[in-house]
């Protein structure tokens, strides 16, 4: 009924020749009321008036800028306080106390605002309004006359397409079977789960009778749903593969440092997770620094955090190597215990420095949200950036290990330490540097993790098992193995999760690895040469 009022006013020419009057006091009273139905009625009334005052008030409602000051309803616009009835500035009698909307009211306000703008002269505003309606309309049967009118006037192709769909959605409940049939056929072109959701009730049975009386429409709806399903399957699968790759890239970043320290150097570093933690806290520290010193560039703190995290984690790693680990080369059991002790020291240090609670690391604006590839497939920016970042880190590591003198020394020392020493390679210094590089890369992984997971003193504990899993599965001493193992584990885990749930998936993956390591203890890729024997 309220919707109907809205339509009537819209269909009868928007605001044309309407007498300018302030917003009615009973509408304002409704908005200020605590009662949900009263508020809803007031919003509907505003939408039906549809003049400039009402539009301003709706806009203010959607911005959460409407407040009660004494007995008056006001709009708070920065420093200024405006009278909600006519938009004139006024001195509030009491301090404004903002009124609250809940989700369903907000949706109603947004829908009403969009409907008001659909006939706007500005093209971008029309497009935005049409898109907003697509998301917020709900059952739009009452808006049908508006769509008809807008469609007649519209010249722009993109807006037209959306309008046609809106029109079809709104005509689904039309009393005319032919109009419904046409609407269903139009909607069958879509690839949106929302449209499918609209069509599903048509083929549902209520008791013994179908909700949709006309059989032709039912059949058309069935075909349309099948067609939409067919399109959805592809994007669903693509989405699942992407989540797998994304998990894989995170596993890779977590494990790549370990692939050097454990895989290449043979040090069982139980403090590897804490090096990730050091990297993540570096990102947090950079964020705090940028917020206080360079607030204009705060969105780029992540970029600055990358080198900082590398060097801080590398320094911590080298310090660990110099003071503890180098005395324990060749004694894996002692190394294991000593590094575990180091990990506890690092966790406690983080607790003392930053407190026991998790700290907030916000995604910068350019890493928030996602890119919409299909109606039901949107890839989050933070994950896309991390996938790209892991590729970049991998490239750097590969270049470092294979194209530089340092990399050659590292390989030489790990393959045959006495021989490398004989030809003049400073083996002790190379060990320190190699350990530093591995630790620094763990630091880079920490920066990536800070963007998707919690940053807290014991965050590293959760990744140590996964990291060893990747390195062992890939084959000790192999970077390429780690890459394939990380991606494989990521995709397999995600498919299992989709099929059996997160808890079972975790168990299945561990069982799989146990069996795999029994059958093939050298991992996916075995290193040929003297190193393995």
């Amino acid at each position: 009924m309220k919707r109907l009022l809205l339509i009537l006013s819209l269909a009868l020419g928007l605001g044309a020749g309407a007498v300018r009057a302030d917003v009615a006091p009973e509408v304002l009273k409704g908005l200020a009321s605590e009662d949900f139905d009263a508020k809803q009625g007031a919003v509907a009334a505003l939408a039906s008036v549809g003049d400039a005052d009402a539009a301003r008030l709706l806009k203010a409602l959607s911005d959460d800028a409407v407040a009660v000051a004494g007995d008056k309803l006001v709009i708070v616009a920065g420093e200024q306080v405006l009278d909600a009835a006519n938009g004139k500035p006024l001195k509030p009698a009491a301090s404004p106390d903002s009124i609250s909307l809940n989700n369903s009211l907000r949706q109603q306000v947004d829908g009403a605002l969009a409907a008001l703008r659909l006939l706007s002269a500005d093209k971008t505003e029309r497009l935005a309004a049409a898109k907003a309606l697509l998301a917020d309309m709900g059952d739009g049967a009452a808006l049908l006359p508006l769509f008809d009118k807008a469609l007649k006037q519209e010249q722009d192709g993109e807006i037209k397409t959306i309008l046609v769909q809106l029109q079809a959605q709104a005509s689904l409940s039309s009393p005319d079977a032919a109009a419904r049939l046409q609407a269903v056929q139009t909607l069958g072109q879509s690839a949106s789960p929302a449209v499918k959701a609209l069509l599903l009730p048509l083929i549902e049975k209520q008791g013994d009778t179908f909700a949709e009386p006309d059989e032709k429409v039912r059949l058309a709806a069935q075909t349309a749903i099948k067609a939409i399903d067919g399109r959805l399957v592809w994007s669903d699968t693509a989405g699942q593969i992407f989540t797998g790759i994304s998990l894989g890239s995170i596993l890779l970043l977590a494990a790549l440092g370990l692939a050097i320290t454990y895989g290449v150097m043979g040090v069982i570093n139980m403090a590897h997770g804490e090096l990730l933690m050091v990297g993540a806290y570096s990102a947090y520290a950079m964020q705090a620094l940028f917020r206080s010193r360079f607030p204009d560039f705060v969105d780029y703190y992540v970029v600055a955090a990358v080198p900082v995290a590398f060097f801080v984690a590398a320094a911590v790693g080298m310090l660990m190597e110099r003071t503890v680990i180098r005395h324990l080369y060749g004694r894996p059991l002692e190394t294991l215990l000593a590094t575990w002790g180091l990990s506890l020291v690092l966790i406690q240090a983080a607790r003392l420095l930053f407190g026991a609670q998790n700290v907030e690391v916000a995604n910068p604006a350019w890493m928030s949200g996602g890119v919409q590839l299909a109606e039901n497939l949107s890839l989050p920016w933070n994950r896309l950036v991390i996938v790209a970042f892991s590729g970049f880190v991998l490239l750097v590591v590969w270049l470092l290990m294979n194209k530089t003198r340092l990399g050659m020394f590292v390989r030489a020392v790990t393959q045959n330490r006495p021989m490398a020493g004989c030809v003049g390679v400073p083996t002790a210094r190379i060990d320190t540097l190699a350990f530093g590089i591995g630790s620094g890369i763990a630091g880079l992984g920490g920066v990536a993790l800070s963007q998707i997971a919690n940053v807290g003193p014991d965050m590293g504990q959760g990744y140590i098992v996964d990291s060893f899993m990747v390195v062992v599965l890939g084959g000790v001493g192999q970077l390429a193995g780690a890459v394939w193992a990380a991606l494989g584990l990521g995709v397999v885990t995600k498919f299992l999760e989709g099929w059996a749930g997160a808890v079972i998936a975790k168990i299945l993956v561990l069982v799989f690895i146990i069996i795999f390591i029994q059958k093939r203890p050298q991992g996916l890729f075995a290193l040929k040469g003297r190193f393995v024997d």
Partner: protein, 419 residues
Amino acid sequence: MQNRRSFLKAAVISASIAAMGGIASSAYAADTIKVGILHSLSGTMAISETALKETALMTIEEINAKGGVLGKKLEPVVVDPASDWPKFAEKARQLLSQDKVAVTFGCWTSVSRKSVLPVYKELNGLLFYPVQYEGEELEKNVFYTGAAPNQQAIPAVEYLMSKEGGSAKRFVLLGTDYVYPRTTNKILRAFLKSKGVAESDIMEEYTPFGHSDYQTIIAKIKKFAGEGKKTAVISTINGDSNVPFYKELGNAGLKAKDVPVVAFSVGEEELRGVDAKPLVGHLAAWNYFMSVKNPDNDKFIKMYRDWAKKAKLPKADTVVTNDPMEATYVGIHMWAQAVEKAKSTDTDKVIAAMAGQTFKAPSGFTLKMDETNHHLHKPVFIGEIKADGQFNVVWKTKGPIRAQPWSPYIPGNESKQKL
């Protein structure tokens, strides 16, 4: 050798006599009443429980400043069970048999409460438990000042199903894999069925503790929501997994107005120091919000802020109050009132005096301890998360609701409804 051994023996005996004497003197010549505080101050639960210890100390100081109880000052005995469930029982025994506390305020997780129960029963102690929980329990020695399922979970789902809450028809029950979410979801599933929601319109998912990759689950929710009818998510995810969950939700473009998520374990303290912008519009159900406006709450918040400054808590300028803190505050005051009424700190006399106690709580309502079931009558609030990590109350009950510790939706509880 002989000499040294006998010397040792003598030393041990005299030391133990001295210790016993010490205990005896403190127990008899006491001009204070000892109050135990049993909250984890280290380990995983420290994040949440430390604030409850501070609240308890603050409340005890408030009562002492007004002259104490029965003319005696309260003396807090703080122990740290370190988030270690068996240690809770050990520390509880220490509080009861060594420190001889008159009452204990403590525990957070259900498993810690279950761990101390036998100790309190055996030694006839008194425990006040301040956290919302899954119900299915009623012990003589325990007073529950947090919410039972019908004081939090059920009203929240009713709100989601109402026109005001968006008339949700399909539900995702999402939780961490342990006893509280599983029991709560069992009750909710039965409740939804009783409201005519079909089995195919309910999806139940669990994740391990500390799970941080919610991509698959969000994709599943999206798909589920795309199969027609308004969908809502009921989250019993516990601890810091909530942060990646909400982050992923925001990035995947699932907005609160399309698929609202209502959480039972996310409060002001959990949102403190978290970027709350992606969470705006999602819901939480509690019996108290810091944003509730009334003089009692203003007083409570101010008192805690002053306390935080005085006790030099970390980040004292941003401290928040939350539901379990309010429950702790109410519990201590009610206990003090009951002791005054009973004119004794004897467990059985206090239990008898607790029945029907009332207290004007910061939530703005006068709460009453039920005459028979050891649970508080509490109001229910539904709040929407705001960008600053506070809650905007969008719905509340007209008055306090009586607790049903034995949910009527679980078969076998029919005979216990009178409790």
